[in-house]
């Protein structure tokens, strides 16, 4: 499934331009070191962290997009950094567990 379609189905709010890519998996973590060690290219990263290092880690691993949970807003410089790296970032009011169940229900395994 493409990230654009998934975002529409789950009501995710784009915080950046959307760079449409296939979602091949999901990784949920609030630790950038954990993301670097364990996330895979093409994963959708779900996190409560909204700082620049999340984008740095997502870009290094080449995640397909990032979902920031609990309604957190991104600073302007983080938005610019993500767009330059062509990583779409979405926000949601849901928490990580709620997001995980929605992703599972949408068929992302």
């Amino acid at each position: 499934m493409k990230i654009q379609e998934l975002a529409e189905r789950l009501g995710l709010r784009p915080a950046t331009k959307v760079f449409d890519r296939d979602v091949t998996g999901v990784y949920i973590s609030d630790m950038v070191s954990d993301v670097i060690a364990n996330a895979k290219a093409g994963d959708l990263l779900v996190t409560a962290q909204a700082h620049a290092n999340v984008i740095a880690a997502a870009n290094l691993v080449d995640t397909c997009a990032v979902v920031i949970t609990q309604g957190k807003a991104l600073a302007d410089d983080v938005v610019k950094m993500a767009e330059k790296a062509e990583i779409a970032v979405f926000t949601t009011a849901l928490n990580r567990w709620q997001m995980a169940t929605k992703l599972y229900e949408a068929g992302i395994r």
Binding site: V32, S33, D34, A41, A48, N59, L60, V61, D62, A85
Partner: protein
Amino acid sequence: MASEPRTRRYEMVNVRQGYLVIEQENHTLARRSYFAAERTPPLEEYREGNQFWKPQEAAQTFQFDVRDVETGEVVSFGDLVGLLYYACCAPGSTVRQIGDLAHDQQISLYVAITTEGAEGPAPLPLEKVRVLNALFNERLTRPRKKVLILPDLFGLQRQITYEQIAIDFGLTSME
């Protein structure tokens, strides 16, 4: 037709969770950092000869080694603190300018930051940097995307704050 799975030469092994501890000497105010693979970061001051070292900050992070699956050789990265993304550097800085140029060619620039000994940091040896570049580039799936990791030839260790490195500073602060 199903594509064959990509074979990778390098894999991350011996992943160790712990803390990057930054400590300061009481009198000279010299600073150094080290990795502590402990459940909680050390907080107590200790004596080393005539010097008294006190932990200042700690960030959750991990260390790892890299195994060459062809030869079985394991390269240790115990001296690597973390990777600094060029876009986290100050606008106009040398690394930011080089990173912007690299970005135009679809290359994402990172700088490998090493632990800071009493004599100061030493850049990661080039052979290790080559291994790191291979490890992270092998994981990418976007065809044109590349990552370029450079040793810290810029003296960034002395200029940046640890919060700029892709490690978990302030993790307990969820603001």
